[in-house]
Symmetry: C2
Subunit: 138 residues, 2 copies
DNA sequence: ACTATTTTGCAGACTGCTCTGCACTTGTAC
DNA sequence: GTACAAGTGCAGAGCAGTCTGCAAAATAGT
């Protein structure tokens, strides 16, 4: 799952806003992009199967087929291989070193990872453990 | 600070092993690479100022000038912009959700971030605080 | 139905990245 | 010194990614 920079720009907007026509897309780009350039990317992305389109009045509306998560995973994987030993863990450690995190950041990370908020001793996965409550993501 | 895939392969080996000649480099690549291809990258990287070289007997030895950290920052930045809101924090949260981390992973992350191992209350940066000991990297 | 406007399809120019081939230079062994 | 092997410099082929221009098609307004 690899995107070129131009393709990624288009996919990003589509991931964030759902289904859009070229004119709508053009308005949403942070940096201006010319119409023919945009449609060149759209065509390529449809050919590659990352987008699907359908008529909406006069124009086509484009929608992402490939999900954000798979693209993200691919890029993270690539990054983890280039730096560190290729594991996601080492990548996070590297990131943690770069960014000076606060304690509340750590708490958020722990929560995002689905772990309990307090610094309880590591619970061994017992065989009859039943999750008493499932905590939804924030 | 942006590297092409080919350039990155070379830089990665050089970051990990220090100063190397082309034959040494070729042996260290996980996937085989042909000699002329390698030297093409080396030449480009020297021109761009990312590598420096010096004679070692018959051949040149190449050494990274650009540090791993700056390349990493650039790629992370790019990733944080493509996904999430562009902040490093949101990127880490995204990662944490992907990877199911353990409590000890969290502890390692906290340590890497330069925070105290226990869940002590956030220490305010007092004006006369003197760093008692400087902690070297890993 | 006619016209004006928007949107599309396509062909291709330009650029940068990847990789190759070959002649030349440098050092080593005899 | 001469022969040989290892290493280098350079020129450029091939290809993918980016972006443009224009003629054709589709739609909306009159």
């Amino acid at each position: 799952m690899r995107f070129t920079p131009g393709e990624l720009k288009v996919m990003t907007v589509l991931w964030q806003h759902g289904e859009l026509t070229p004119p709508q897309l053009l308005e949403l780009f942070p940096e201006p992009m010319k119409d023919p350039a945009l449609r060149s990317y759209l065509t390529i992305l449809v050919e590659k199967g990352h987008l699907r389109r359908r008529r909406m009045g006069k124009a086509y509306a484009y929608k992402a087929v490939t999900q954000e998560r798979s693209a993200f995973s691919g890029m993270i994987q690539q990054l983890a291989e280039a730096f560190g030993d290729g594991s996601m863990r080492s990548l996070m450690l590297y990131l943690a070193k770069q960014e000076k995190l606060t304690h509340s950041d750590i708490d958020e990370i722990r929560e995002a990872a689905g772990l309990k908020p307090l610094d309880s001793p590591p619970v061994v996965e017992a065989k009859s453990v039943k999750r008493s409550r499932k905590k939804g993501a924030k």
